[in-house]
Subunit: 192 residues, 2 copies
């Protein structure tokens, strides 16, 4: 447990023993392919550190189209930040794309540690700013890069996703249709 969660909770201000305390506040949870970690409308009361498997977050737009907002893989955290910390209903669904092993921590336990361990507090801020940065990068990429460039970037940065997620989910994540993504793939194969 320690070895796996350590990757996620890596932070210079966290001592070995604090890290252990934090890890011990987690409980193992497994999800089968298709299970929901959190559904739209539910108020989150914990978050999930993904140790194995792949999770997809998505919303429905006004036309009822399913839009993938993110993929959460090994050593990443599946969480609706707003739902959990503001205790309001989630706007996203979080669903296991494959069988998953996770460690969960609930809000109450989190809060206690967050306020008693300064390094954990710092870790939280660092984690959130990293999320903001990633999301900003993605937005910029949506503006400046072509669909095929966005695909190649995903391929390079998160190859696991391309292996395990169906094409249509990857397509909506990239902001294109599955038809277009299929054609882009075909082109890329040719190029090689």
């Amino acid at each position: 447990m320690m070895q796996t969660l350590q990757v996620i909770y890596q932070h210079p201000l966290l001592t070995e023993s604090e890290l252990e305390t934090i890890c011990q506040a987690h409980v193992p949870v497994v999800f089968s392919k298709g299970d929901y970690l959190l559904k739209k409308g539910q108020v989150a009361n914990s978050y999930f550190c993904v140790i194995e498997g792949l999770v997809r977050s998505y919303v429905y737009d006004f036309n009822g189209n399913d839009i993938t907002t993110g993929f959460i893989g090994k050593n990443e955290i599946a969480i609706d930040v707003v739902s959990l910390f503001h205790q309001i209903p989630s706007v996203e669904h979080f669903q296991a794309l494959t069988d998953c092993k996770c460690y969960a921590i609930n809000l109450d336990n989190f809060q206690v540690l967050y306020h008693s361990i300064k390094g954990f507090n710092e870790w939280g801020r660092a984690w959130m700013s990293e999320c903001l940065f990633q999301l900003k990068q993605r937005t910029i990429s949506m503006i400046t890069d072509s669909a095929s460039e966005r695909y190649k970037r995903l391929q390079y940065q998160h190859p696991q996703i391309l292996q395990e997620a169906p094409l249509k989910f990857i397509a909506s994540y990239l902001g294109i249709t599955d038809t277009s993504l299929s054609r882009i793939r075909k082109e890329l194969v040719k190029e090689v």
Copy 2:
């Protein structure tokens, strides 16, 4: 000063006196149109609460195109979260689009308050999760909405920006060219 900063620092866990302590840690700063609050490559050492005026954040993409990443108006905060909290060089420029009045707080003062006032810590987390939420909404909008819908949304949510920012900056923020935005505007006028 209190009245204006109170809007930004609104939080249920902050008492009147704590709020006052926080406000007193800020110093007034003014910027003239065109001034930089922070330049790419600099390490941020403070953030700016905008009281009056409009700030634009932007980056250059690999082709040298100027991409507007955000607008920061009245009662919003101009900050490069990653640069300030990780103390690394900023990747964005922050420039005053109009003359601006701000209150600034530096990192050291912020840290002291952040760790000594629990409500301020909570405020910080709430503020960041709100940012994440807004940014996620924007990304979804980039995927599901047409350029003209994105423009109308901006018009509705941040009319100030349309008044004060030149068309080309709004265009790159929306992910289109200034030419296209000009045509979209023309269409919208017709519709009315």
